[in-house]
Amino acid sequence: MVDVVATNETIIVVGGGISGMTAALEAAEVGKQVILLEKRPYLGGRVSQLYKYFPKMCHPVCGQEINQRRIKGNNNLTILTMAEVTEITGDTGDYTVNVKISPRYVTSDCTACGECEKVVETEFDDEFNYNLGKRKGAYIPNKMAFPQTYVIDPAIIGTDEADKAKEACKYGAIDLDMGEETLELKAGSIIWSTGWKPYDANKIQPYGYDRFENVITNVEFERLMDPHGPTGGKLLRPSDGAEAKNIAFIQCAGSRDINHLKHCSRFCCMASLKQTRYVAEKYGDDAKSTIYYIDIRSIDRFENFYNDVKSNENVEFIKSKVASIEQDENKNPVLRGVNTEGAVRYANTHDLVVLAVGMEPSVDVSEFPVKLVLNEEGFIQNDEANGGIFAGGTSADAYDVNRAVQHATAAALRAVQVVNNISK
């Protein structure tokens, strides 16, 4: 049984990505009681699925480690993973939050020794790798997962596989009788940090993501470059497993477009610039990157990063929104369009195309457990009508980590003010 104490002075943070962790820690470190609810079996959100992050090009494990240390050093913070909010009722200073906790089938006695994983054979698409690889039915979601606790896939419960896993565990940490739990928690204020999801590239019909194997998205590219990813960090073409050496990046793929996402996601230019650096670091002069863009938005101090990439001879910039992609007989994508600098028509062959897709809110408008003021794109607005519920990070707008964390800190400050008024 999960045992949690919550009062109307408690702050509940929904979503444990970099934004939710930040908001929760900021509030807990000033002495507030905080409960952090995360849907996945681990914290870190989508940042943990990046290979490195700009501008400093550190590995996500770095920021993650700092946050883990802060979590361990704080007694005011309770973390529940595999937890989802089903309903919120009440008002500022007096909310009731219903939470559903899915069974992990593994207790905190787990040492992550991996014996269960060895005996289980059934494999599933690996969601951490955007389904590019497979994982076992008993698995640790990623190398730096926090908590470092295994998960048993509910699909193997009731099969021999689950029994084998249980037998293999020397620590008695596998509990196959675990069931779904529901909790009713009180809260004075709620921070909504459920983050973003990549825009569905299948909808960008002329680019053929649904038809051409060698057209991938920027989030998939991160996984391919990661040494812990499905290819061991090799940039292998999905069609034939050959190493890609001539890579095209298409900016604003489904962004700033009345047919798709109307907004600019702000980070995608930087993400592609960063990804050309991965290519340069890995292959040097043996590989070429080409960025097709409308305009490069490397806002304020990121200009240096842009200039640095521009000075690399192996990175070409073509000012053009690509009109369409076809595929040649070797499954090479052929990009067609007009370079608006000089109106030059092109049909350029690349061996891999990366669509720089933007962010949309991870929670669908119809799925919110409480009525909030949203904008046209489904991002949460800063509005008095939302009472004591505040967005933190990319549930409010498309941000990079730096901006998401700033926004989340501001949300923490707002929530702290709400509960301060109650304790007065």
Partner: protein, 208 residues
């Protein structure tokens, strides 16, 4: 220079963008263009344009009136609507292209011997007679567009097709004698005349 053209030059004093917005169908929408080039890249006839659409929008904004009104580019538009479907900003490119062609024509600047321009005129002349297109006559006038000798040659070449169409009741030889039309051709022509007057008044800036 035609009187109207001269008048427009004086009226807009170098503000060609405003001239286009006021006088070209859906001209207003080109304000949204962000020069991404997807229209130019999507045009199946793109390579045949002196200036593809995105380039034309750039020229309009830059006030390059002569370049825009002396090109035959927009006469290449076949109304496939690829550009409108892909434009991220809702620019009504197809309509603007036809609007520019129309405006050029009204100003007396339409290119001479441009095949699409010629065909459009034939089509229009054919249509206004009876309020319905007489396809037989239109087809023949098209054959003879480039002179009598060429016309006979083209007609002979397409003889088989013509016969097949007749058999399938897709072409009626009786159309040669008069042909079908609207119920009230005189009323129809009055309407067209009125529309011309309204357009002329609008361009001259006399509408209320």
């Amino acid at each position: 220079m035609s009187d109207l053209n001269q008048k427009m030059v004086e009226k807009y004093k170098g503000n060609f963008l405003q001239e286009v917005i006021n006088n070209v169908e859906e001209g207003e929408t080109m304000k949204m263009c962000m020069q991404c080039g997807v229209c130019s890249g999507s045009c199946p006839l793109g390579p045949h344009w002196e200036y593809p659409p995105q380039h034309i929008f750039m020229l309009i904004r830059a006030g390059k009136r002569d370049e825009v009104l002396n090109t035959d580019s927009f006469w290449n538009c076949t109304s496939c609507y690829n550009c409108i479907a892909r434009c991220p900003r809702g620019v009504q490119i197809t309509h603007v292209m036809h609007g520019l062609a129309r405006y050029q024509k009204v100003l007396g600047l339409a290119p001479k011997n441009q095949p699409t321009e010629k065909f459009s005129q034939l089509f229009w002349d054919n249509l206004v007679q009876k309020g319905r297109v007489n396809e037989l006559k239109l087809g023949l006038s098209l054959y003879f567009m480039n002179g009598f000798g060429e016309g006979i040659k083209t007609a002979l070449k397409n003889q088989k097709l013509g016969m097949a169409m007749m058999k399938a009741k897709r072409m009626n030889p009786a159309e040669m004698f008069g042909g079908h039309g609207v119920k009230d051709p005189a009323g129809f022509q009055k309407m067209v005349k009125k529309a011309h007057e309204l357009e002329a008044a609008r361009i001259a800036g006399e509408e209320s």
